[in-house]
């Protein structure tokens, strides 16, 4: 039996060897020489971190306890790799196209580069992976304890062993996992070391298997007989559990952070996946082929009560094959360490990119990302995260303590990370999937999983005993062991159906009822149609950012050398002599991708956005941009409204101007008319007065006649001036009415008397019906009489009948009284009818008649002031005017 000292020495040597391999690979990769590093074989071997110490040791134990059930753990991934190859290829293509750095980054990128979702998945991954890391630590510790002989270093202390192992793994991961912040997050050193470990664990298992079959038993035939006899042959397998576990392990290989790391992130060439699609299942087959024989032989040969989980070690030891046991130990050690290393790497990437760096950026918000040494912060965050993840695993291991608690933790962890599956598959295949849906699904599934499986497993019996047995607050339907009263035989299956079912349902339902943000839609299209878009979207539109600022930021994150190279190459590609490229969208996009490899897509996006000040693509910024756009549109519509208003004002001004022009024309015409009306009588007056002055020989008759003409023309002038003043007052509305009680008949009498006095020798006979004229009025009698006088004198002037007569008739209409003045002349010609109320309008027949043509205009103004009206009634017969008496005058009377 190997001493503990020797075992430690072997471990140290082995790890040193791994360091050397990793270092060499890094160096070769940096020199660009290591073609073999990026071969499909190395890729396939790196995938085999799927088989951890849990499967290396535990498969045999599981076979011994539950028969063939362990096969499901291999079956699921095999089915996925062979049957769902197209899904893997799409994931790898998306991962490479979008420079995805982790499963959290994948989910977050798909759903609009959501930082919240990334943090959620990260936390879920940490919680789901921590027990798994604890399990690896336990397996290593257990395997150490098998070699229990104390040496110079003393007896193996399980606790300190775990600490040493954890510490060593942390160191290894930090050294090779955070050497640089590489854009594509590839770690050739780590991957080669893991590939080597995969070979070691495979050959260790094959060696033990071969020894068991051909050394302990008598070849395959004997083994088959032994299987027939063993209880394993009689185990009846539960079909539902088989299907469930197969699905679960198939989901796990898609969702486990470490599997995503090696399968997508570390993938150097998409074609490697084609090889892996058959080589990886083959590897799994080889890993599983000797499990049953070892379990069967172990059960028969080892004493009752021996831990079947340790048959891999105890069988060779019992047979005195120390070397083989040591090889087996190294195989288990390899399985455990490779898993822990990659898991720590994957988790640290997520924790630093999605939790620490965003928090740091928020803490230093307002500062430009290039003012701090971003590269140093990111690397430190990685290292701290690695140490943190391993510490967490260690703490979990020490708190959970017993073997039993950890036995089923592998499957529980599978189910935990499988909560990402609906959002992942939905994101890849369904453009309608939204961030809210993803968050709801993952959140609910995660809660159910945590409560039903994780809490009972992790809780120390004493602390939560009451809750575990009776449910929280005595709500038995919430009791973890029987959620919703489901007292199923299998808590894992119950939890799986419940959590994934609720998860998927919530995901689909919420997605259907929420609208994706523009960024989500964009990324959704990029993910779902990744084969059409081999490139990421051109998110940056133009740029205000200077290349200098971008270079400084890039140097902080990528390192001076790489940043300078990147910028120089880009400048050269743009055909520029300068050291710095134009910040074109293409270049910004490339830079963002480069940065995304170091700090994650969302963060890189935010940083480039901050520098360029361009349309950032984080959803919040996008919303801000949308808000701004909305404001601008609002502003623009306001401008439009203003412009329309201005146009209206301009139109109104034009109209007003036109009116003014018209008015001015009218005023000119009016002045011209007044001039004419004044100058005409003045011409006669001047002419005759000059004749009178210069003609001494004029006879008395002529003298009298000329004097009379001068007199009449003077009166005409006076009348005209009176009319003009009257009209001006009426039009201005400055007229004051002298209202009082009167009778219509009296007013008519006054008018008729006035006109007969006015024109001597009139032949016009006026016909009235006095009985009808008994209409009491409340009005300005003088003004009303003025209107009547005007109408009567018009008839006197213009009625061209041989025996002119004017009929004045009172018409009692419903609600009003009208007085009609109708003569028996020719009437007003139709084309004149619309003009007679205009100023200075005189009918064609007015040639000989005195008057300036203001009478009807004045009359109509007066009737308007009195509250009545004056219209001309066209029709048969002579001129027919109708005076509508004011309504209020009638009522008041």
């Amino acid at each position: 039996m190997l001493s503990f000292d020797g075992l430690v020495a072997v471990c140290v040597l082995y790890v040193a060897g791994l360091f050397w391999v990793a270092f060499l690979a890094e160096k070769r990769a940096a020199e660009g020489k290591a073609r073999w590093l990026s071969s499909p074989l190395v890729y396939t071997l790196s995938l085999s971190i799927y088989t951890t110490a849990w499967t290396f040791y535990g498969a045999v134990g599981s076979a011994a306890r539950s028969g063939l059930e362990f096969m499901t753990i291999y079956l699921g991934p095999t089915l996925v790799f062979i049957g769902w190859f197209w899904l893997l290829r799409k994931m790898v293509r998306i991962g490479r196209a979008q420079r995805i750095t982790s499963i959290a980054d994948m989910i977050s990128s798909r759903y609009g580069k959501s930082g919240g979702l990334a943090a959620m998945v990260t936390i879920l991954a940490v919680i789901g992976t921590t027990p798994y890391i604890a399990l690896q630590l336990q397996s290593v510790t257990l395997s150490f304890s098998v070699f229990a002989r104390p040496g110079a270093l003393g007896a193996p202390d399980t606790e300190s062993t775990a600490v040493w192992v954890a510490g060593g793994l942390a160191l290894f991961t930090i050294v090779f996992g955070t050497r640089s912040l590489d854009v594509n997050e590839r770690h050739p050193g780590l991957v080669s070391a893991i590939a080597l470990e995969s070979i070691v664990k495979l050959f260790a298992l094959l060696a033990v298997g071969g020894f068991v079959v051909w050394g302990l038993a008598d070849g395959p035939r004997d083994v088959l007989l032994r299987i027939e006899e063993s209880p394993i042959a009689t185990w009846t397998s539960n079909g539902a559990r088989w299907v469930g576990l197969t699905v679960l392990s198939g989901a796990a290989i898609l969702c486990l952070p470490r599997m995503f790391q090696v399968m997508v992130v570390e993938n150097a060439d998409e074609r490697h996946l084609a090889t892996a699609s058959w080589a990886f299942p083959l590897y799994l087959l080889l890993m599983s082929i000797f499990v049953i024989p070892i379990a069967v032989v172990g059960l028969q040969m080892m004493p009752e009560g021996a831990n079947p989980d340790l048959f891999m070690l105890t069988l060779p030891l019992a047979a005195g094959q120390d070397g083989l046991a040591l090889f087996a130990f190294l195989g288990g050690f390899s399985a455990a360490t490779s898993m822990v290393i990659i898991a720590a790497l994957a988790l640290s990437t997520m924790v630093s990119n999605h939790i620490i760096v965003p928090l740091w950026m928020r803490a230093t918000k307002g500062e430009n990302p290039m003012t701090g040494d971003m590269r140093r912060v990111a690397l430190m965050a990685r290292r701290l995260s690695i140490a943190g993840v391993l510490t967490l695993g260690l703490v979990y291991y020490r708190m959970s303590g017993g073997t039993e608690a950890l036995a089923s933790i592998g499957l529980i962890a599978f189910l935990g990370v499988a909560q990402v599956l609906p959002a992942l598959l939905g994101g890849i295949f369904w453009r309608g999937a939204t961030r809210a849906g993803a968050a709801a699904g993952i959140g609910l599934g995660f809660l159910i999983w945590g409560w039903v499986l994780l809490v009972p497993n992790a809780a120390t019996a004493g602390l939560m005993q009451g809750v575990l047995e009776n449910g929280p607050f005595g709500l038995t339907w919430l009791r973890p062991a029987t959620p919703l009263g489901l007292d199923g035989a299998d808590p894992l299956l119950t939890a799986m159906v419940l959590s994934l079912g609720v998860n998927s349902f919530a995901f689909v339902l919420v997605s259907l009822f929420t609208f994706p943000s523009p960024m989500e839609r964009l990324m959704g299209a990029q993910f779902v149609n990744v084969y059409e878009h081999s490139r990421t979207p051109l998110a940056w539109k133009g740029s205000a950012g200077t290349a200098d600022d971008l270079l400084i930021m890039a140097q902080r994150i990528l390192g001076a050398g790489r940043a300078a190279r990147l910028f120089r190459d880009a400048a050269a590609a743009q055909g520029r002599e300068a050291r710095l490229p134009e910040p074109t969208p293409d270049f910004l996009e490339r830079l963002e991708r480069e940065l995304a490899g170091s700090v994650g897509a969302a963060t890189a996006n935010a940083m480039v956005g901050q520098i360029t000040g361009g349309a950032s693509v984080s959803v919040r910024d996008l919303l801000a941009v949308a808000d701004e756009t909305a404001q601008m549109m609002e502003y623009s519509s306001q401008l439009e409204a203003k412009s329309a208003e201005l146009a209206q004002t301009a139109a109104r001004l034009r109209e007003a101007n036109q009116k003014l022009t018209e008015l001015s024309v009218q005023k000119d015409a009016f002045l011209s008319q007044i001039s004419h009306e004044l100058r005409t009588p003045m011409t006669s007056i001047r002419a005759f007065s000059e004749i009178l002055m210069k003609s001494e020989d004029l006879d008395a008759e002529g003298r009298t006649r000329f004097s009379r003409i001068i007199h009449d023309e003077s009166l005409r002038l006076t009348r005209l001036l009176d009319d003009l003043l009257d009209l001006a007052v009426l039009e201005d509305g400055r007229v004051t009415l002298n209202e009082g009680n009167t009778m219509l008949g009296d007013v008519l009498d006054r008018a008729v008397n006035a006109t007969s006095a006015l024109v001597g020798g009139t032949r016009l006979s006026i016909l009235r019906t006095r009985a009808d004229e008994e209409v009491p009025l409340w009005t300005d009698a003088d003004r009303l009489a003025q209107v009547f006088i005007n109408l009567i004198s018009n008839a006197q002037k213009y009625c061209d009948a041989a025996e002119p007569e004017l009929r004045i008739e009172v018409l009692r209409l419903p609600g009003r009284v009208e007085v009609e003045f109708a003569d028996n002349g020719a009437g007003v010609a139709p084309r004149q009818q619309s003009l007679i109320f205009e100023k200075f309008a005189r009918g064609d027949t007015a040639g000989e008649a005195p008057g300036a043509g203001l009478g009807l205009a004045i009359s109509r103004e007066i009737m308007g002031r009195l509250g009545g009206g004056l219209i001309y009634v066209p029709g048969q017969g002579g001129a027919r005017f109708r005076v509508r008496l004011p309504g209020r005058a009638l009522r008041a009377a």
């Binding site: 003045m682 007056i685 023309e713 040639g847």
Partner: protein, 135 residues
Amino acid sequence: MGTRVLLVEDEANILEAISFILSRDGWEVHGHGNGATALDAVARLTPDVVVLDVMLPGRSGLDILRDLRNASETRNLPVLMLTAKGQAKDRDLALSLGANAYLTKPFSNAEMVETLRDVAHGVSLNGAGLPDQGS
């Protein structure tokens, strides 16, 4: 036998005044009060000179002037325009249409006779010497 003048004027008093003045000065005066039939009167009477008011019932004096200038027999018939519209543009319009002279009402009798004599004897005044020029 004096120079035959046709007065086209709708204001009876003005027509009477001008007729009286010109008759006493030895002119053979014919009066006509309607614009619409003024051209007929010109054709019938074949005056040596025409005094034409602008504001006429039936037809504007300016229209009559245009027709006179468009007809070959009357193209060179001397025409004195009278108007009560005292604006410069009215006078310009009348002269541009071919009036030989232009008087704004009211005018002095002597001035009117003087102007008409010049017009009748073929002196084109073109508006010169009018006392009201520019008013």
